[in-house]
Symmetry: C2
């Protein structure tokens, strides 16, 4: 990445990208609508908060989903040779918005690092955030192989594992592995609001594990969910149907039939966990 990288957006992900690239000796220019955020990220060592003097090789749009299309379009226009990627949690919506602008998208390839934190902002960033994590790279029919290679190089420099996948597959996948699980954590945690304190005292580490992600910023999540509404609603409808089955099973009077029915439903959970790829690092 000898031409350097411009990171637009100095939040958790943008700053962590900057930190990871700086560790590999890559020149990083940071910018943010909020200048103090860019200054903070620069102070943490994620790059410099000045505009690039020469055209960057790659622009990383690390902004919330609903700003991605604008930042990508601006960057493609401003740097006519640079490859542009984004790191948003949804991939179809920005692509649709960019297509609607009827601009040349050959140098744009979306991506999405499967890493984050319950905390947000530059202060929560770290160079190792992406180490050994999957990082979706989502070429589309108009993107070039050269642009794809640059984005996959970024992934490699950040220590992550590139997973090449279409934007539609990506959105369906994250609805299942990320968005619906977050909502399940929220729904589980919400039940505690009406529990007396002496009863809440029985909560243990399993509940803490399950609800950890529910502390994340509702404003950020509302935007992600709205941007991936259809795939998420489809997963929630499946959960809703299973939940209905569970409630009915609990009401079965015949003890043997109830046990068989419950065990069959619960075994689907065991099978599901076996599909989760094992930890890549310790």
């Amino acid at each position: 990445m000898t031409g350097g990288v411009a990171v637009v957006g100095a939040g958790l992900i943008g700053t962590s990208v900057g930190l990871a690239l700086r560790q590999r000796g890559v020149t990083v220019h940071l910018s943010d609508r909020d200048r103090s955020a860019a200054a903070c990220a620069a102070a943490l060592g994620a790059g410099v908060d000045t505009a690039p003097g020469t055209p960057p090789e790659l622009v990383v749009a690390a902004v919330p989903p609903d700003q991605v299309a604008q930042v990508v379009a601006d960057s493609l226009q401003r740097w006519p040779l640079a490859v542009v990627t984004d790191v948003a949690s949804v991939k179809m919506q920005p692509l649709r918005q960019l297509r609607a602008r009827r601009i040349d998208l050959r140098r744009y390839v979306g991506s999405h690092p499967m890493a984050g934190s319950e905390r947000s902002g530059a202060a929560a960033a770290r160079a190792g955030l992406f180490a050994d994590r999957p990082w979706a790279v989502t070429p589309h029919p108009y993107s070039t192989a050269a642009a794809l290679a640059v984005v996959e190089h970024l992934v490699e420099l950040c220590g992550a594992e590139a997973v090449r996948i279409t934007p539609a597959e990506h959105d369906r996948a994250v609805a299942v592995v990320s968005h619906a699980p977050y909502l399940q954590a929220v729904l589980t945690a919400a039940r505690l609001n009406r529990l007396p304190a002496n009863e809440a005292a029985l909560a243990g580490p399993a509940l803490r594990d399950i609800t950890r992600v529910a502390v994340s910023d509702p404003a950020m999540w509302a935007q992600i969910l709205a941007a991936n509404a259809e795939p998420v609603a489809r997963v929630l409808a499946d959960i809703w149907r299973d939940l209905d089955d569970l409630i009915s099973s609990l009401a079965i009077e015949d003890a043997a039939l109830r046990t068989t029915t419950l065990e069959r439903l619960l075994a689907q959970g065991v099978a599901g966990t076996e599909r989760i790829p094992p930890h890549r690092s310790g």
Copy 2:
């Protein structure tokens, strides 16, 4: 506990109780319907697998929920001076079953350590399993203060934190903090079964945290859920209603209204997590 403790049931919990008590120098006699399980627990250092020569001070029924009443009743009859407790995940069902037998329950006080493992059996046991964990102690209208004191002494010897609570409160609480969360993990994991492998590759640590408990034994859980069916069904009905709200919110066309509605639902999750007591140990 100078009179010694008889542990009936050499599974994960029974063996861990034995190990914890042995560390404090308490005499422990282990038994199990499966003699090789008791022998295994004894070999691990959880006590001796012979019948007590002198009456024990306390009997711990560490058997599955549907065997608790039988083991408690037998123990009360066999040792006319011993206090008897159980460690099952539900407290109303065994108490109802014991009351139906019209026996003297003054020496019985139920309890439930809020600790466990996805693995089961003596081999997964450890002396520190209960360290700094809540351990519900559930006296009922017929139990004596002396029996309660003996059970609370057991909790203390195991290094846990006694939480005194009624059997009904206990069952309502575990439906919220344990049983429904387990089911949410199952429903979340079950969604992975129909996901292509390249999409499942995007799963990260948040999904792993949320679904960890879903690998637990369906047969054991079917029994726990059936024994606490009503409180669990009530919590699931609440989740079902919230899920319905979420699906409707995602379909709202007005972007600002959709965001406000989603954020309000998601904020309930943040508030819920604040009710979880902090870690007592590291």
